[in-house]
């Protein structure tokens, strides 16, 4: 049978492979190569060694955007996962209307980042106007604004994953703990959370990488105001490419650095939580 499929392999694989090369492999390889070149279009690319990387590391705004993004990713990770876990616990209990509540909490997740940004800009600036300030005037207002925005967007998503995890815990395990005299607090920490580690791994992985990659919401809510101080890494890279002529190579070098950071953080995070997973 494998032989028969093998003869037909091109029909099955070629369309996806061709698109994958155009859409991912070629841009990726070219991107790595161009990070060592100076260019404005690809044709005039000139090899310049690691000078783009040196310029990228010397860029104080880029360094600031790294710390701002890292802090954002950590804070959003904690807020989103604590709230989502609590909601999942509450909404798997016997209570009227749990299905409607799940529907409501998940809904913001389907709205696009640009739209979300403008919805919340109206709300935040409406509130802040009472204190005669605005999102664009203070980078920490922008920071907490973004935290509230992504929490609103992603809590429902993570909640769904946690609910699926909670429902897969066998009832006997809980009963056994109850018979052994564990109170509900002990059951949460000694049974539920250890059994939920696979879901926790996924959710923390998703929320930390989402936090690092955030772009649309950043662009629409604060656009980096005031003076690029609320610019996160993805937006900083975008602005280096398209806002500063002659800096395309530096932009590409920053993109490579960004890629390495995202992969490294993803791997560290996976290793940290995977090691705490227990066999079911």
């Amino acid at each position: 049978m494998e032989k028969a499929i093998k003869r037909y392999l091109p029909i099955f694989v070629l369309p996806t492979l061709a698109a994958f090369i155009i859409g991912f492999i070629a841009p990726f390889i070219m991107g790595v190569g161009l990070s060592f070149c100076e260019f404005t279009t690809v044709k005039d690319a000139k090899f310049v060694g690691i000078s783009n990387y040196v310029k990228a590391f010397q860029d104080t705004i880029f360094r600031h955007s790294f710390w701002y993004t890292a802090l954002f990713a950590i804070v959003s990770l904690i807020v989103i996962n604590v709230c989502a876990f609590a909601l999942a616990l509450a909404l798997t209990r016997k209570m009227r209307g749990t299905n409607i509540f799940r529907t409501i909490f998940f809904m913001p997740n389907l709205i696009g980042g640009i739209v979300l940004g403008y919805i919340w800009q109206l709300i935040f600036n409406g509130i802040l106007a009472k204190y005669s300030t605005a999102l664009a005037l203070n980078q920490w207002l922008g920071f907490w604004g973004l935290i509230i925005l992504v929490s609103w967007q992603q809590i429902g998503y993570m909640m769904i994953i946690y609910i699926a995890g909670l429902q897969s815990i066998p009832g006997e395990v809980m009963e056994a703990a109850q018979i052994d005299g564990a109170n509900s607090w002990q059951r949460l920490w000694k049974v539920t959370i250890p059994m939920m580690m696979p879901s926790i791994t996924i959710c923390t992985f998703l929320s930390i990488t989402n936090g690092f990659k955030l772009f649309d919401q950043n662009l629409s809510l604060t656009a980096g105001e005031p003076s690029k101080l609320s610019e996160m890494m993805a937006l900083n890279i975008y602005n280096t490419f398209y806002g500063r002529s002659g800096w395309e190579g530096v932009g590409q070098a920053k993109a490579v650095i960004f890629f390495v950071i995202v992969v490294a953080i993803g791997l560290i995070q996976l290793r940290a939580t995977r090691s705490k997973e227990v066999q079911q």
Partner: protein, 278 residues
């Protein structure tokens, strides 16, 4: 027993209030979309009153002056087209590379997994150059880009499912004289239906809301998606028409909510399934 019942009622009341707070931002935007534009920034939290209520004027402005209807049309076209192409091509591909084991198929699978963690900024500049060069900067061409960039997740999820299908079913079909193409479409495809739904939902959510990829790839003067149109209303004009933006936001949100309420069960299952595989 009675104690438990009251506790459950307190929970219901608490979550009803929380739920209302949760949807309040959308309601506030909805109310503002009926106000005269100069009043929106002044008093965003007040209900529309007789002096600033202007009915659907903001909606007609958004549709007539900012070409929002066209943007909705292109977004629907790109999303539906891309999702159909992604589902057909990647499911075929995933089945073949799971059933044929050699170095090439294994490398392709690993590359697909790898592509899922690469942030878009890494490839955005070179991708937009390639798309330009190959004349893929149209709503038809962008479907190929979406197939390429969306292949990672889709191939990964389909492969996960194919591994769980007993190979005997396919062997039986082949012994009965089906060639691999026919085997795939008449035997494998129907079995994979739940995965088609999960992948379809995840890809739809991504493509419908995507901003940067179409912004960089499409010829913006001719084609805009909803996200691009809204960003343009705010970004490139000196005077910002808040009224039209409010109307545009509502028109961007309504199709999503309708879609969500109609396929809620599948969306929630799709998200849970995607997470387990991911």
């Amino acid at each position: 027993m009675r104690n438990k019942k009251t506790l459950s009622w307190i929970g219901t009341i608490f979550f009803t209030i929380l739920g209302l707070i949760y949807i309040a931002p959308i309601i506030i935007v909805l109310l503002n979309s009926f106000k005269k534009k100069s009043f929106i920034n002044l008093e965003p939290f007040k209900l529309p009153s007789a002096k600033n209520f202007i009915g659907l004027d903001n909606y007609t402005t958004a549709l007539d002056q900012y070409g929002l209807l066209k943007a909705v049309g292109w977004t629907v076209f790109i999303t539906v087209g891309s999702v159909i192409v992604i589902l057909i091509c990647t499911s075929m591909c995933a089945w073949a590379i799971t059933r044929v084991k050699n170095k090439f198929t294994n490398a392709f699978y690993l590359l697909c997994v790898f592509s899922m963690v690469v942030p878009f900024q890494m490839v955005m500049f070179t991708l937009s150059l390639i798309a330009d060069r190959l004349k893929l900067n149209t709503p038809w061409g962008i479907i190929i880009i979406y197939l390429g960039f969306g292949a990672g997740l889709a191939v990964f999820m389909f492969c996960g499912f194919v591994k769980s299908i007993p190979i005997e079913i396919e062997e039986a079909a082949m012994i009965d004289g089906c060639n691999p193409v026919r085997t795939f479409f008449s035997v494998v495809l129907p079995i994979m239906q739940p995965t088609y739904i999960s992948v379809g939902i995840l890809e739809t959510m991504w493509i419908w809301n995507d901003f940067l990829l179409p912004y960089l790839v499409l010829d913006i003067n001719k084609y805009k998606t909803i996200s691009i149109a809204i960003q343009y209303m705010k970004g490139s004009y000196g005077r910002v028409d808040m009224g039209a933006i409010m109307a545009a936001l509502i028109m961007a949100v309504i199709p999503v909510i309708i879609f969500y309420l109609a396929c809620q069960k599948y969306i929630i299952e799709g998200v849970a399934a995607g997470a387990v595989k991911g």
